[in-house]
């Protein structure tokens, strides 16, 4: 008996994995059903919808970005101090005094841009493949809220380093909000927690950024994924007529 087989026959291994390696149809079913992460998927899906060029994996990439942001974000929270001007000094210290501090901060920043791009592209792919059509209308509408949450997550995070870039970008943004018809002053007061950008603003945006918006996004993502399943998995072709199915040429010849 090889080492791998011996490991697999230990009680520890068996207590973790309830099925054998998924290389038989039975185990390929079980692995999906037994795993919390994998069970978001169905056991089988239409061959065409697996093609990378149908979804470009963009929804999944948005989720991946969100996960990276969550991990690196928690890590940043260990060092970040939401005070004025302490925030800026804590960022400086993070970059110079902490192992991988700069790296983790970079990762958080680039993944944030990545998520905005991925979500926009995902929406665009869902649109051009007509995947918003019934029965997926409401999932599309929830998607629009997710888009808004993504923007807000990114924008609230932008203020936190408390440098010139952050401060003035937020000034531009909150001046736009001030222009809201009729209730502009109130909207701005609510956003800033005062009449100008200061400590109250920072704490507000920090709380939104690290707790409220991520929780809202997680909840909505959970509902979004659930709905994808309940709407029958990702969309499959419903052509207008047989001819239409020919266009755009479905390159199945290349697939098989």
């Amino acid at each position: 008996m090889g080492l791998w087989d011996r490991i697999k026959s230990t009680r520890l291994y068996k207590s973790i994995y309830r099925n054998d390696y998924p290389d038989t149809p039975r185990n390929q079913v079980l692995v999906i059903l037994n795993s919390m992460v994998l069970h978001l998927h169905p056991v089988k899906i239409p061959k065409k919808q697996v093609r990378y060029t149908f979804t470009f994996g963009l929804g999944g990439t948005s989720l991946l970005m969100f996960l990276i942001l969550t991990l690196t974000g928690v890590w940043l929270m260990f060092y970040y101090v939401p005070s004025i001007p302490g925030a800026w000094f804590s960022m400086k210290a993070l970059q110079t005094d902490v192992y991988f501090g700069q790296f983790a901060r970079n990762l958080h920043r680039w993944a944030a841009h990545g998520m905005v791009i991925a979500v926009l592209l995902h929406m665009t792919r869902v649109f051009y493949t007509g995947s918003y059509k019934p029965p997926r209308e409401f999932n599309w509408a929830m998607g629009v809220v997710l888009l808004l949450l993504t923007f807000l997550l990114s924008f609230t995070g932008y203020l936190l380093p408390w440098d010139q870039l952050a401060y003035w970008a937020i000034t531009v943004g909150s001046n736009m909000a001030k222009a809201t018809p009729f209730i502009g002053a109130q909207v701005q007061l609510m956003l800033l927690g005062g009449y100008e950008i200061g400590q109250a603003t920072l704490i507000r945006w920090y709380t939104l950024h690290v707790i409220f918006l991520p929780l809202a996004a997680m909840l909505l993502m959970g509902m979004h994924f659930w709905r994808v399943r309940k709407d029958g998995g990702i969309s499959t072709p419903i052509p207008y007529d047989e001819d239409e199915a020919e266009f755009p040429p479905q390159p199945e010849a290349a697939a098989d």
């Binding site: 390929q28 999906i32 994998l38 169905p42 056991v43 089988k44 899906i45 239409p46 061959k47 065409k48 919808q49 999944g60 990439t61 991946l64 990276i68 001007p85 800026w88 960022m91 790296f103 970079n106 990762l107 680039w110 929406m123 665009t124 649109f127 051009y128 007509g130 918003y132 059509k133 019934p134 029965p135 209308e137 599309w140 923007f151 990114s154 408390w162 440098d163 010139q164 870039l165 401060y167 970008a169 000034t171 943004g173 001046n175 736009m176 222009a179 809201t180 018809p181 100008e196 950008i197 029958g232 998995g233 499959t236 072709p237 419903i238 052509p239 239409e244 020919e246 755009p248 199945e252």
Partner: protein, 306 residues
């Protein structure tokens, strides 16, 4: 099992017989055990319907793609993070306004609009309207057909390209008009950066603004006088009219030119939206320098005061 659950809960109710959407063998379908690529009758290769039904295991077919894509993105982001540092500029200073002050890139489209219209429009009304209209798309186009494959119809790609070009031509033209029309009330002498003097006579000029007020609204005020009503027309009415007129004309053009159905009209509207977003974002990011003046990217110098 999961298979069953998916099938029984999908609110399908779509067309009966050659339902290509069928997510695997349908209950009651006689071909439950038929091979997927069984040839079928009919002039068209109806085998498609069967192909569409062909099912594969998520493990390994999808899980492997997910794993590879995740590794790819984690690797690329890590590499980028090793090479490019996230910016951390000087400590915030409320006394020192950088020139220009820009929002993050994804809001630069809106900031670009801000240069051309009343801030309530650019900052609040337009983005709110866009989100509402986006969410409304499936309630306007509620035909199930045309989903599940790229561009839906024979004309889908053509309409996308046409709408995108149409949008960009309009918006570029308007941006250029708004920059270079310079109405001058009384004779002025400008001292250019080069030290040269330039005298400008009263009237409407086509020139670099050099700090003079420029654009459609000043032109309007120049022609019709500066009263609260003309100001409102210049910064609220004209821009709103254009923002409605441009997509409205597009809608009718597409309808006429392509005998478009609702899906195709939606394609033209979404293309209008995404082309506007892309164009305005690029202009706001790469073509706006000091004082948000329009300039070539290679003339843009880093902001002052950052």
């Amino acid at each position: 099992m999961a298979e069953e659950e998916v099938k029984s809960t999908r609110p399908q109710g779509v067309a009966p017989a050659p339902n290509p959407k069928a997510n695997g063998p349908q209950p009651g379908s006689p071909s439950l055990s038929a091979p997927a690529n069984k040839p079928e009758v009919g002039p068209k290769p109806k085998g498609k319907a069967a192909d569409d039904k062909e099912m594969v295991f998520v493990w390994p077919h999808l899980v492997s793609i997910e794993a590879i894509a995740s590794l790819f993105f984690i690797f690329s982001l890590s590499l980028m993070s090793l090479l490019v540092n996230a910016p951390l500029r000087n400590l915030a200073n409320p006394e020192l306004t950088p020139n220009p002050s820009k929002a993050p890139w994804y809001f630069l489209g809106l900031q670009e609009l801000l240069l051309h219209m009343h801030p309530a429009l650019a900052g609040v009304i337009v983005p709110t309207a866009v989100l509402i209209l986006l969410a409304a798309i499936p309630y306007i186009d509620s035909d199930r057909r045309g989903s599940g494959y790229w561009f839906s119809t024979r004309n889908g790609v053509r309409i996308t390209v046409f709408a995108a070009l149409y949008t960009m031509v309009w918006e570029l033209a308007l941006i250029i008009l708004d920059e270079f029309i310079v109405p001058v009330e009384k004779a002025t002498t400008l001292i250019l950066e080069s030290g040269e003097k330039l005298s400008v006579s009263p009237g409407v000029h086509w020139m670099n603004p050099h700090g003079l007020s420029h654009g459609i609204k000043p032109l309007f005020l120049h022609l019709f006088g500066r009263a609260p009503l003309t100001v409102a027309i210049g910064e609220i009415f004209i821009p709103s009219l254009l923002m409605v007129l441009i997509p409205y004309l597009l809608w009718h053009l597409i309808k006429r030119r392509y005998q478009a159905n609702t899906r195709e009209l939606m394609i033209s509207m979404y293309s209008f939206f995404i082309a506007s977003f892309v164009l305005l974002t690029i202009i706001g990011t790469a073509f706006r320098g000091h004082s948000m003046a329009l300039m070539w990217p290679w003339h843009i110098t880093p902001p002052i005061g950052i």
